[in-house]
Amino acid sequence: MEAIQNFLESTGFAVIANEPLDLVMLAISCVLLYLAIVKKFEPLLLLPIAFGMLLTNLPGAGMYHADYFAGGVINWEELGTGHGGLLDYLYLGVKLGIYPCLIFIGVGAGTDFAPLIANPKTLLLGAAAQLGIFVTYIGANLLGFTPAESGSIGIIGGADGPTAIYTTATLAPHLLGPIAVAAYSYMALVPVIQPPIMKLLTTKEERRIKMKQLRPVSKTEKILFPIMVTIFVSFMLPSAAPLVGCLMLGNLMRESGVVERLNKTVQNELMNIVTIFLGISVGATATAKNFLNLQTLAILAMGVVAFGMGSAGGVLLAKLMNVFSKEKVNPLIGSAGVSAVPMAARVSQVVGQKEDPSNFLLMHAMGPNVAGVIGSAVAAGVLLALFG
């Protein structure tokens, strides 16, 4: 009878009485699953994140133990004696910074930097779109977050999932859940967030600017580019080396043309495997205690501000460039500088074609778009150097 008693007390129904907020978290994870599956919000990451959040909040399941990672210290004793759950072990890849780097190898292998090489001044747009990161940093500071936390919140404005997770796992791991959810949700919402800002800040004439066709880029340039960027950026900012180096390793695999089978694997199977592990273990950090508080609401609010400010920064710098340069830039491509590849570039294309159906901005917007990836990695490097 005692056994039955113990058994009943171990059910989730008994545990939930002490942890009623877990039910709220389960509801939130179901909402996120809905967004991922029905609304198709970045499902490749949001579905694993949401399911990880669901698993971590199942009372008594013990698939993730927040206390094994409390205070940023990994409790190897518990993990090493086999007391960890699946998500504890998978989370090590996040905590040790392995997954975001591996994903960046795949991202690099999937990225064509030719539009950027053909029109390098679009790098300025990719720089300006990082404005959101730093404006949000100020806001978070003012709301009372620590500098390290503020940096992690700001990086949402980088519109780049792996960068945000890499930075947050180092600077403020307790905020991983809300920051990852915000980053991927807002990336999915780029087609909703950006167009009003783009229209507000541009005139009809600006939106109709046609840009001259991009020059072809030679294979040699495409091969030299990743090597050059790795060396130069890492010299300027060593803390950006892991992200930029991995991005460019993947890109070199792509452009070199001599390691096609590796290129294919990093873009597909390796990336898929790591994406699942990353998603479910990042989701697992979203326990009720870490997620259900005013901070999360503040982070979600600041995240959307970061996205908006970044988009605005890109558009405004494009307008500024047009003041000084005879070769005009359509400012609609500025908003693509937030990264969110390739969705933000597609938004530039769509908004541009609404004014003039004969205007094809997509390739031009890919320049700032991929520049934004480099830009946020650099911004992450600054934050890591200062607070890491």
């Binding site: 720089a127 009372g144 066709q213 040699t220 000084f324 650099v378 600054v382």
Partner: protein, 100 residues
């Protein structure tokens, strides 16, 4: 962390923002310069040596624009120098660039 409390890190956080934005711009402007140098070297070596055996088919007639390239190089270098001298983005004034 006290939510909505007075920011304790107030002295310094504007410095962080300045340093961050300046670094991002300096790094990416330097990349502009490097890409342009790379492009110039490519163009140069392409002229001096034999043409690439399998040139990429140009997607459409592309007018050769060697002169603007050089000018943009000058412009980008000027910008980089301005940055290097410590002025923020807002204070950049470029006086010397004219289209020939």
């Amino acid at each position: 962390m006290k939510l909505l409390a007075a920011a304790s890190a107030a002295p310094g956080f504007l410095q962080v923002v300045a340093m961050g934005l300046i670094t991002v711009f300096v790094v990416l402007i330097c990349l502009i310069i490097l890409i342009k140098i790379m492009g110039a070297l490519m163009a140069g070596s392409a002229k001096s040596t034999a043409p690439q055996p399998v040139p990429q088919p140009a997607p459409a007639p592309v007018p050769a624009v060697p002169q603007p390239n050089k000018q943009q190089l000058v412009a980008a270098i000027s910008a980089a120098i301005a940055e290097d001298m410590g002025s923020g983005v807002n204070h950049i004034k470029i006086h010397s660039i004219r289209k020939l």
